[in-house]
Symmetry: C2
Subunit: 261 residues, 2 copies
């Protein structure tokens, strides 16, 4: 099976044009098939502020109301996604930017939660592996914005980590998939304050041990739980590390590898 | 050869959610292969006003400066394009929304004009017929936003009429192409004030006669010149008529048909 990298970049790097460009240059240089999933960054928040639209919070959680959805659709699927594509094209990386509505690539439903209305937030139901395969097979890399749809005409704001995971799982029948979370830290750290304390490899037994001894930063636990869930669902390896080190990260010489054994 | 409709909708209908939805329902119902090219509408202008960004004019012409480009990218390629796609998906029309940067589908260069800098405005150089064919062949309709790129990392604001024409011409080797300009009027009118005075058919000789007798509205002449240029470059027929009558228009029972003979 061909290798496929599904790479998620966090919001942080999106806001820094120079760092983003360096990251995209490394992404463009990957010879294997590849998909990028990007988050939002602070531009959407800034645009909402400039337009005088107040961020709605409910029990401390952000709510995607109609105005916020409009802004994230413009910023994520428009400004950020299209500028990433134009930059990748300049690095001779033919790529196509999609929302989940495009080609019905990511179908979702509005999140249902007893007593709490998140607004226009989507939970993923299915990905269109056939379309994704067709594009990758033509050597076109795909860049997903974190916007999906419900097939009933509604766009939905959707977590980029989840999208990356669902695509990685959904493509694992066709490709040897490695899921990469590229963010601002060097990897999973033994000591949250020491960026050099990277754990190079975590398997299920070691993860259990780390959790029992509370040697792992609480904020990393959902990411690691998701990583092991991806491994259970066909993904071959999950890599977590610094966006700027993308090349070393996918070579396995930087960051943390989450593996089954 | 299979038939392909390349349909351009004007800005006017984009601003009217209900009319747009009715138009998209008729578009979705077209059984032949189809591409939609949309303009901008007033949303970009309103957003610029809300953000306090002043429209730059030079010798009476709009200039696309960096801030304006950012806004049109957000509004055209983000908000309008993705909402059109979500709506088409709800009508069971599988469709994909692209800018010209996506899949290098429309390559352009920044307009050069002696003594006048239009800003980030693109003139089309080439379309990617292979990608367009691949998607259409998978029964995915394509919806183009009027944003292109220059392969050097720069997005460019580009006239939607021109994009429709270039795509129609560029696909005419593979398909029997009909280019449709759907706008607010019933077609090309003999009397600009009488919406019932539609000319049902114009061929080159009749066009010459209409121009000589000055029986044609001056504003229509560039559109008609473009239509005849498209016919000279492989397009089979150009149809001009009311967006709301799309079904009748493509059946030939409404609007104006521009033909070679």
């Amino acid at each position: 099976m061909d290798k496929l990298f599904v790479i998620k970049i966090g919001g942080n790097i999106i806001d820094d044009k120079e760092r983003l460009s360096l990251f995209l240059k490394e992404f463009a240089a990957i010879e294997e098939k590849k998909i990028l999933v990007h988050g939002g960054g602070k531009l959407a928040t800034r645009l909402a502020e400039d337009l005088g639209i107040q961020q709605k919070l409910l029990d401390g959680r952000r709510i995607t109301d109609a105005e916020t959805l409009k802004i994230v659709t413009m910023v994520y699927a428009g400004y950020i996604n299209k500028n990433i594509i134009a930059t990748l094209q300049s690095f001779d990386c033919n790529s196509i930017g999609l929302s989940g509505a495009d080609g019905d690539s990511i179908l979702a439903h509005k999140r249902e939660h007893p007593g709490l209305d998140y607004g226009f937030v989507g939970d993923v139901d299915a990905i269109n592996a056939d379309l994704i395969y067709t594009l990758l097979n033509k050597n076109i890399s795909i860049v997903f914005a974190p916007i999906t749809h419900d097939q009933k005409g509604q766009l939905l704001n959707t977590n980029a980590d989840t999208i990356a995971q669902e695509i990685a799982k959904g493509m694992s029948n066709i490709f040897d998939v490695e899921l990469v979370y590229a963010f601002e830290k060097n990897g999973v750290l033994l000591n949250a304050d020491d960026d050099k304390s990277v754990i190079s490899k975590i398997n299920p037994e070691y993860y259990k041990e780390l959790k029992e001894k509370q040697r792992i930063f609480a904020g990393m636990i959902p990411k690691l739980d998701n990583a092991f869930s991806a491994l259970k669902n066909g993904v071959n390896k999950v890599l977590i590390g610094k966006a700027e080190n993308l090349k070393l990260l996918i070579q396995g010489s930087s960051g943390t590898a989450i593996v089954n054994d």
